[in-house]
Amino acid sequence: MSLALHASVPAGPGPMVKIVDLHVKFGRHEVLKGIHLEVAPREVLSIVGPSGSGKSTLLHCVNRLQTAHRGHIWIEGVDILAPGVDVNRLRRKVGMVFQHFNLFENKTVLDNVILAPVKLGLLPRAAAVARGLDLLRQLGLAAKAQAWPHNLSGGQKQRVAIARALAMDPDLMLFDEPTSALDPEMVKDVLDAMKDLARGGMTMMVVTHEMGFAREVSNRMVFLDEGLIVEDAPPEWFFNRPQNPRTKAFLEKIL
């Protein structure tokens, strides 16, 4: 499998994502308490942390599936929390892969992949089909183009989900525990696809518990704990010399 992906690198040296003082509340419960984070173009950032620390919430803010209470997020220099921002236009450039795949149950595999590009008028149908089949082939799913999602294994579903996101030609990909719902023997296929994507230069924010993957593939790791980033370091540092005691405790538990 090889994903020759052409993530279009934005003009200028600015960050792909810049998050400043991001707060999110659910009612009285403050889940994100002032996140500061930058992701450079072509960077692969792994986000780790205990369950409930706000990892999903953070990712959901980046494509505005979650609204922020306070703070700023710029994507390719555009302030996405500003009033009047075209959210749908933003989301076209930010792909998301979910823990539970969320494939469209009423669409075949190929239709899952081409639906948005065709219905949003980004590609003529024939071109979308050609590109969709190409993506499916690269992900080892050529034979499944006409299958229904419920006939696929978890690993296949997740790769379709990746193909669906890539069909939008995104500049940034968000992964929310993409292998957590998979049987162990399926994890590798999905991680391999993500590795290929990273090698192709895609900017990625990956929430994961796969420490092997994080160490091998990511350029940077952050540890999120109770709504704050308490560790932000390259993987070697993160694993070998964590600065924060809570990171240490987390790593001891998980490794």
Binding site: N63, L65, N88, R89, L90, R91, R92, V94, G95, M96, F98, H100, F101, N102, L103, F104, E105, N106, K107, T108, L115, A116, K119, L120, W148, P149, H150, A161, R164, A165, M168
Partner: protein, 229 residues
Amino acid sequence: MWRARIQQCLLDPLPNGLPPGWRMLLDGLGYTLVISVLAVALGVVLGTVLAVLRMSRRGWLRWPARLYADLIRGTPVLVQLFIVNFIVFASVQADKWLVATIAFGLNSAAYVSEIVRAGIQSVNPGQMDAARSLGMPGALAMREIILPQAFRNILPALGNEFVVLLKETSVVGFIGGMDLMRMGDIIRSMTYEAYVPLLSVAAIYLVLTLGLSALLQRLEGRLGWGRER
């Protein structure tokens, strides 16, 4: 004895130059089917719109839809039929089948809106998240992803709604509709025979409703993309 009754009620021409009973019942059946099918179609379209309105984030879209459902569900269908016939269509000449279709369609919409709402809520929220994450506007996601799955989930309930409606239309005789029930009643009054026409009418309703339920069950199994079960 029974053969003579059947002969008189169903096979021989009726008094006053009316055709034989079987012919009357057949016409009535056609009438019943037409208004039921059209009314349920109207009900599904309007009901879906109402359901989407009721789930809107905007209050001024939500409350009229809700009020409508409450008004319809809180009053008898016969009262609604009379209101449509004697008030709404008071000064407009319209065929009774059209009046009945509109009245029953408006009635059905309220019940269908509840069904559709439950159906929309039965769709995994992740489906909407995925659609939104691809930049699909809400209306597009609704049309392509949410509603098709909602309808698949509520097909049995909608079929049941049609069965209910089919039976409820038996009151259109009150405003002069010539449906199955009315025809049976005409035969009864012409022949002074109650058993044969009324039991025939009952049997026809029963065959329709049972047949429909069976058909729906088969249809349900046909949809390829059903949920894993």
